[in-house]
């Protein structure tokens, strides 16, 4: 299937315009990660993290987790925003255009990834202010790559749900039974070593586990798995999620 680059661009452009105009959305997207970072970071200040040494280990441990959290929420919502477009009717305008469905998915993912990345980098910027340090530009580059993989994975997940649901009614169910479990299972807030074995295995099914672990490896040099393994798994997860998202979106009827 041929990707219609103009359609991808115009869908991306629309997302950028909407994002830049919704100041409250930007502030809202940053407020929660910031609160987590400040309050948890200060509250668990003296908690020891296995495998990490030095000062203020917990807040350093927390930064990649919070970036992962921000991406999880914003990207899943980004995929689910198809439901908003359906609710407000704009989806029909998109679907009646002579553009193949795959290009529409690519356009949405491009837009969602960009806004997710902007938020991820902003969280990282805030953590610099709080005293977080990284080793150099190379690790920043790798971190951005990992953020892109996390964003596309959960955009795909959001698209799957947006195509299966018909309206916003199921939104809170997804919030409570999908997004929060994925967040807590990932070890974004605590090391997974304390989990009982069965829960630990369950966490291996959560893409965010490897996304956050990869970010920790890149930014802190301390991770449970090898960074290359995290990358391979995340490429796999994002590929599968995007494929399924595109598949279900293509199959679902537009109205």
């Amino acid at each position: 299937m041929i990707v219609n680059t103009t359609a991808v661009y115009v869908l991306w452009l629309r997302e950028m315009k909407r994002f830049s105009r919704a100041k409250s959305r930007v502030i809202g997207a940053l407020a929660m990660p910031l609160f987590f970072l400040v309050f948890l970071g200060l509250g668990f200040n003296r908690m020891a993290v296995p495998g990490m040494t030095g000062d203020r280990t917990y807040i350093r441990f927390l930064v990649p987790g919070i970036i992962g959290m921000g991406l999880l929420f914003s990207s899943t919502f980004g995929g689910l925003s198809v439901l908003w477009d359906r609710e407000f009717g704009f989806l029909k305008e998109i679907m009646v255009a002579p553009v193949n469905r795959f290009s529409i998915v690519v356009g949405r993912v491009a837009g969602g990834t960009t806004t997710g990345l902007i938020q991820g980098v902003m969280i990282l910027g805030i953590s610099f202010i709080l005293g977080f340090k990284i080793s150099g530009p190379a690790s920043l580059f790798l971190a951005i790559l990992m953020m892109i993989l996390i964003a596309t994975t959960f955009l795909g997940l959001g698209l799957i749900f947006a195509s299966l649901l018909k309206d916003m009614q199921g939104f809170s169910i997804i919030m409570n039974f999908v997004i929060f479990p994925l967040f807590f299972l990932s070890g974004a807030l605590y090391p997974l070593d304390n989990f009982p074995l069965w829960l630990k295995y369950l966490s291996f099914l959560d893409p965010l586990t490897f996304g956050v672990d990869g970010l920790r490896g890149i930014l802190l040099g301390a991770s449970s798995f090898a960074v290359w393994l995290d990358f391979i798994l995340m490429v796999f997860f994002s590929g599968v999620m995007l494929f399924l998202g595109a598949y279900f979106f293509e199959k679902s009827e537009s109205i």
């Binding site: 103009t6 359609a7 661009y9 115009v10 629309r14 315009k17 909407r18 105009r21 919704a22 407000f88 009717g89 704009f90 989806l91 029909k92 305008e93 998109i94 679907m95 009646v96 255009a97 002579p98 553009v99 193949n100 018909k166 309206d167 009827e253 537009s254 109205i255």
Partner: protein, 331 residues
């Protein structure tokens, strides 16, 4: 070539048949109307023709392309204005048009001139850079009509184009629609449940009820089915003598009498009233009141279905909506 050719088109939603084996053709340049109450299947028909819903059975061709097989060709050939606004309210009117123009592959040069042209047509040049969320209902409808025209569609679908608009705005929209059809030669299919809209705008009207066509013809011929105008007279005096006299007149098609009220069916009623009064005078009967009623499409609908569309609206017509969870809106 026919702009639209539909054969036995059917759509079911989990056991419920929204559109039931309808067949019709629309000629190029025609202004064709689908008239019927809410839930009759008008929007479902439009959605199938616009490739948004797949037909359960039957076939349809738009601008020469089968809607199931050549979706992108159909999409390129049509413009659609949906019943509910399909605008991004966080973008300006112009940005909405630009989005559309780019999705349809217009070059930068084409976009510039075309956007100015359609904005002028709907008289929204001055509001082009305002966010759509600040637009009134009428402005939204106008910008959508403009948008539907950007890519020079051969066929334009208008689903309830004046629903919820005030009388003045409705007039203006009607004028745009007429202008488009007559001056630009765009084939237009519109759905409506407003009788006067179908009557005023459409070359031909299909009356739709429970997913089926109950009648299809020009508005004037549909009304002719009813036999003409109805003249009602209130009379005092020897009614029997007058009735006897009236029965000898061939141009009166039907006579009903009731307590000094006469109800007479005839063509060109307004030209016959003086004659009727003369007849009454000769019979020694005085006429105290005359009322002339031209048949409307409402009467035609009543004739074919035994109900009025207004009754259906008043009863909110729950029959279709409740049968379709999740499909209640805009059907």
């Amino acid at each position: 070539m026919d702009a639209i050719r539909v054969e036995n088109l059917t759509r079911q939603f989990s056991g419920f048949t929204a559109v039931d084996r309808i067949s019709f053709t629309v000629q190029t340049g025609e202004l064709f109307g689908l008239l019927g109450p809410n839930g009759a299947g008008k929007t479902t028909t439009i959605n199938m023709l616009a490739t948004l819903l797949k037909p359960t059975s039957g076939s349809a061709e738009v601008a020469g392309y089968n809607v199931s097989l050549y979706r992108d060709n159909v999409r390129r050939s049509i413009g659609v204005v949906f019943q509910d606004p399909a605008l991004d309210t966080k973008l300006t009117g112009k940005e909405n048009l630009e989005f559309h123009a780019m999705m349809y592959g217009l070059s930068r040069h084409e976009r510039k001139s075309r956007l100015a042209e359609v904005l002028r047509l709907v008289e929204l040049e001055e509001k082009a850079d305002v966010l759509v969320e600040k637009y009134s209902g009428g402005m939204k409808r106008r910008i959508e009509i403009a948008r539907g025209l950007i890519h020079w569609p051969k066929v334009l679908f208008l689903d309830e184009p004046t629903l919820g608009l005030d009388a003045q705005t409705r007039r203006r929209i009607w004028d745009y629609i007429k202008k488009l059809n007559k001056d630009k030669g765009v084939t237009i299919i519109l759905t409506t449940h407003y009788m006067e809209e179908a009557d005023y705008l459409c070359d031909r009207v299909a009356i739709m009820d429970f997913g089926k066509f109950v009648a299809l013809d020009t508005p004037s011929q549909l009304k002719d089915i009813l036999g003409g105008d109805v003249v009602s007279m209130e009379v005092e005096g020897d009614t029997a003598a007058l009735l006897k006299q009236l029965k000898t007149l061939a141009w009166i098609k039907m006579i009903k009498s009731h307590d000094g009220f006469l109800s007479l069916t005839m063509e060109k009623g307004e030209r016959r009233i003086p004659e009727l009064i003369t007849e009454a005078h000769q019979a020694g009967v005085s006429v105290t009141c005359v009322h002339l009623r031209k048949p409307s499409l409402e009467d035609v609908f009543l004739h074919f279905t035994g109900r009025t569309i207004r009754e259906d609206l008043a009863g909110q017509n729950g029959r279709h909506r409740s049968a379709m969870p999740g499909h209640g809106r805009g059907r």
